[in-house]
């Protein structure tokens, strides 16, 4: 206590620093603006990702890092049973997931965007209604639809029975032939409104003059859509396709909520996100799985980062064009 009073006194007695020096100190203080963001970002984003890359090159015993083993984790992931089989199967499901989402979510969203961009009333209302599912937590969506798709008490099978289509009713999530597709449809339900909005932004950017000119040249209806709208809306289509790709390869919560962390039934809905989770936090025998999990993380990281880089390239180009 005495020392602080002394310091303050001493400071007060000191001659004031010349104005220039004071300004120079203030100038350095400016760097404090950057510091907090940098600490969070480097400490808890860049450093952990760097660690994840590094971890894939080491042997692991539980949570302890062992010796450096080069690319062996990758070799085991790609060639050794059962890692290889699980990896290939899950990767296949991710690819199916992506294609399924493009064919359902994106196609529906694009058609709806075309309709909303045409002369209709209540545009804002439709936009609002389509957007609502996106407000829910993915985990809520998963749980909600596991109830709706329940074979005995679920609303969907009851609804089918009510309109005379009992024949179609089935245990959607319990049958390995339908489970993955059911999840794809649920995911489309969750995301189509958002995709529609992105397409709409793209469509609204096309100038009316282009359509006028085409109309004068005698183009109409579908021909106009294929020769003018689709090519000119390509940037937004590309962005949405890549976002869907990233979403399909990052997917985890929805399937975790609906089918558990093994991708029931019989791994028929297992995806790389679930496999990564099991390797990292599940009790896969041997306790070496963090190494293999890190290798899988690197594979996913490369896939997703490349896709994002491509999408950013497209976005930039779109910005330049307008």
């Amino acid at each position: 206590m005495t020392s602080t009073t002394f310091d303050r006194k001493a400071e007060m007695n000191l001659p004031k620093p010349p104005a220039r020096r004071k300004r120079r100190i203030a100038k350095h203080l400016v760097h404090l603006f950057l510091l907090p963001a940098l600490v969070f970002y480097v400490g808890f984003m860049i450093y952990p990702i760097f660690q994840a890359l590094l971890n894939s090159l080491f042997a692991w015993k539980g949570l302890t890092r062992g010796p450096f083993i080069g690319l062996q984790n990758f070799v085991r992931l790609f060639t050794e049973t059962p890692f290889k089989e699980t990896f290939v199967r899950a990767l296949g499901h991710n690819v199916t997931f992506f294609i399924g989402l493009v064919l359902t979510k994106l196609v529906v969203a694009f058609i709806l965007a075309l309709l909303i961009n045409s002369k209709i009333r209540g545009k804002e209302l439709f936009k609002t209604l389509y957007f609502v599912p996106k407000l829910l937590s993915v985990i809520v969506v998963g749980f909600l639809f596991s109830l709706i798709l329940n074979p005995t008490y679920g609303a969907l099978n009851t609804l089918l029975a009510a309109i005379g289509l009992e024949g179609l009713a089935r245990p959607w999530l319990g049958d390995p032939h339908t489970a993955l597709y059911a999840i794809i449809i649920v995911n489309s339900w969750y995301g189509f409104g958002f995709a529609m909005l992105i397409f709409l932004v793209g469509l609204q950017a096309i100038s009316q003059e282009v359509y006028e000119a085409a109309r004068i040249d005698g183009a109409s209806g579908l021909k106009m859509i294929f020769t003018i709208t689709l090519p000119l809306a390509m940037p937004s289509i590309m962005i949405m396709t890549i976002l869907t790709f990233i979403g399909a390869f990052e997917t985890f919560e929805l399937i975790y909520a609906m089918q558990g962390n093994n991708g029931a039934p019989y791994f028929s809905t297992d995806v790389l996100g679930l496999y990564f989770y099991r390797l990292t936090f599940g009790s896969v025998s041997g306790g070496e799985s963090i190494g293999i999990g890190s290798a899988l993380a690197v594979v996913l990281l490369v896939l997703i980062s490349c896709a994002t880089a491509v999408s950013m390239f497209f976005f930039k180009r779109r910005e330049v064009e307008h």
Partner: protein, 273 residues
């Protein structure tokens, strides 16, 4: 006549998808008022009455009040921190031309490409070492770290549109660097702040992944994690399940009803990520 038919078809398609979009949510809300028996016998229709029994039961049986407070605390603190640190950083990058400004911007933009959850095992070990596992602080830290890139991206874009004369004249009037940020720039930033808040709020409020990994104590859970507990413990009491789902979605849906335009604009701006 053909045109008339075409218009009708358009509305039929649009209305059909509006129904598809909304009906599951209405079903969830309607079922939350039904009794267990009623859900089995009349799964599709309206409930026979609007009794709040299910709500009271869910509120008491699982720690719903705790979940709610935890979610609110984590979301609010995270979003405020994101806004603060990112706007300061973006201000620094956009308003001072240091040699490294361009590189710093690029460095932050790198984060837009990196899926952070793939670093979950190093993050888990870091939290373990910092003794932050099973705390809400761990969530706040990863949310702030993970959302800085996007916020800097939006704020930097905003600063580019803001004339520099503004802070020059403030400086001549005797404002120091921080005062320029706090008194001049921050109030003008409201639209950009709103965009970032909405995008991050939806993401953080709804996140399930990090709570699943970091939290062990049930009373610390956020709402999405609470749903996991609810579905684990009362998997046959569908009335309670629907009720829990409704309760957890209601805050976002209500916020959306009041500010749907801002939500939609915010999310489409956020599409780059």
């Amino acid at each position: 006549m053909a045109l008339r038919l075409q218009q009708t078809c358009k509305y039929v398609v649009l209305l059909f998808f509006a129904f598809v979009s909304i009906y599951p949510i209405l079903l969830m809300i309607m079922s939350s008022f039904k009794t267990k028996m009623e859900i089995i016998t009349h799964p599709l229709g309206l409930p026979s009455g609007f009794s709040l029994n299910n709500y009271i039961e869910v509120w008491n049986k699982v720690h719903f009040a705790d979940y709610f407070v935890n979610s609110l605390y984590v979301s609010a603190v995270s979003v405020l921190l994101i806004l603060l640190v990112s706007s300061l950083a973006a201000f620094y990058i956009a308003r001072y031309s240091f040699r490294w400004s361009g590189f710093v911007l690029f460095f932050f933009m790198l984060g837009l490409m990196l899926p952070m959850r793939l670093a979950i095992s190093p993050l888990y070990m870091m939290m373990l070492k910092l003794k932050l596992l099973d705390t809400l602080t761990s969530l706040i830290i990863v949310y702030v770290a993970g959302h800085i890139s996007f916020a800097v991206f939006v704020f930097y874009g905003f600063f580019r549109t803001l004339p520099k004369d503004l802070d020059q004249s403030a400086r001549i009037d005797g404002c120091n660097d921080f005062q320029v940020y706090y008194k001049i720039v921050l109030p003008l930033m409201r639209p950009a702040l709103a965009t970032v808040s909405i995008v991050d709020l939806i993401a953080i409020w709804n996140d399930f992944f990090y709570p699943l990994i970091f939290l062990k104590s049930t009373e610390l859970g956020t709402i999405p994690l609470g749903m996991l507990t609810l579905f684990g413990e009362y998997d046959t009491d569908w009335n309670l399940l629907f009720c829990g789902l409704t309760l957890s979605s209601l805050p976002m849906i209500l916020a959306f009803l009041f500010a749907s335009r801002q939500f939609i604009e915010g999310m489409t701006t956020g599409a780059v990520k």
